[in-house]
């Protein structure tokens, strides 16, 4: 099984937990690696924006002497975006429904990001 297929399986598994509408694995430099996302969304732009959010948050926290952020969470009435690191090379980002249980999502995300980290080496 190719690396891409294995990464896509991680995203499928994540989606099967419910309340996750879309997800993507993105390189730290903002390029798309794998995605489970509607064709109406520009996946490449989503990848660049997610990496930028996390990158900017890392810079801000570092400037303030508060260490490296574990994740970035963006909430609106229409849903949530959560971006988290998945090792040195990548990050994992999900879009959820508005009523998604954030605690549960973070737990699933933590397991998935570890798998991604292991797969990318």
């Amino acid at each position: 099984m190719s690396l891409r297929s294995q990464l896509e399986d991680v995203l499928k598994e994540l989606k099967s937990t419910g309340d996750i509408e879309a997800s993507a694995i993105v390189s730290r430099d903002g390029l798309l690696i794998a995605a489970d996302i509607s064709s109406s969304v520009n996946a490449d732009a989503f990848a660049a924006m997610s990496a930028t959010m996390l990158g900017a948050a890392e810079t801000a926290m570092s400037e303030l002497g508060k260490g490296v952020p574990d994740r970035v969470v963006v909430e609106s009435g229409e849903g949530k975006i959560v971006a988290t690191g998945a090792g040195e090379k990548a990050l994992l980002v999900v879009m959820t429904t508005p009523k998604a249980n954030l605690g549960l999502i973070l737990l699933q995300l933590s397991k998935a990001s570890k798998k991604v980290e292991d797969l990318l080496g």
Binding site: V26, S27, R28, D29, G30, L31, D44, A45, A47, A48, A51, T52, L54, G55, A56, E58, T59
Partner: protein
């Protein structure tokens, strides 16, 4: 001008001939294809912007520049394709390949983006650039990046190919002279 771009192999033309063919002067402003204003920038200009952007968003700076450039390249490629098809009928892959090669020739020789060559085989396109504007900028600034740095060129060529061929590509800068390679080398693959 447009006819020349889509019908002739421009590699044999000198810099002066290319300038005469594609660059006009109007009210003191240089224009490409008679409609797009041109201006020179310092080689260090883009490199300086990238360095500052990396200070703000880290490695994600690459994704921002590559994606933005890719989108604009795609708009340019699609516009050329549409203009061609309106005038001459469907643009086949052979024609798209020739136009892409001509655009690379113009960027290198008219615009000064570096000495560029373009080859294609079995759906893989390779562009070699000697003294790419972005890599030269890093060298002039005496910056030693840990990654290839020709983000504008990568994104714009990538998008141009997608627009011209009306297909998705994968793209990567596999060697960069800012990292010590002789040339910058880009690979693009049809998906």
């Amino acid at each position: 001008m447009f006819e020349l771009l889509v019908s002739e192999d421009l590699r044999e033309l000198s810099e002066e001939e290319l300038d005469r063919a594609f660059v006009t002067h109007e009210n003191g402003v240089k224009q490409f294809l008679g409609r797009i204003p041109l201006g020179c920038i310092y080689a260090t200009f883009l490199a300086g912007i990238y360095i500052e952007l990396e200070k703000i968003v880290g490695r994600a700076a690459k994704g921002l520049i590559v994606n933005a450039s890719r989108n604009r390249g795609k708009i340019a490629g699609s516009a050329i394709r549409r203009r061609y098809e309106k005038k001459y009928g469907e643009m086949d892959d052979e024609r798209a390949r020739m136009v892409a090669r001509n655009m690379v020739t113009i960027w290198g020789r008219c615009f000064g983006w570096g000495k560029m060559s373009f080859e294609s085989k079995d759906g893989v396109f390779e562009v070699l650039v000697e003294d790419s504007l972005e890599a030269v900028g890093y060298r002039k600034l005496k910056e030693k990046p840990g990654h290839p740095v020709c983000w504008m060129l990568l994104g714009y060529m990538w998008g141009l190919l997608e627009g011209l061929f009306d297909r998705k590509f994968e793209g990567e800068e596999v060697e960069c002279s800012a990292l010590g390679s002789k040339n910058c080398r880009f690979e693009f693959r049809m998906i």
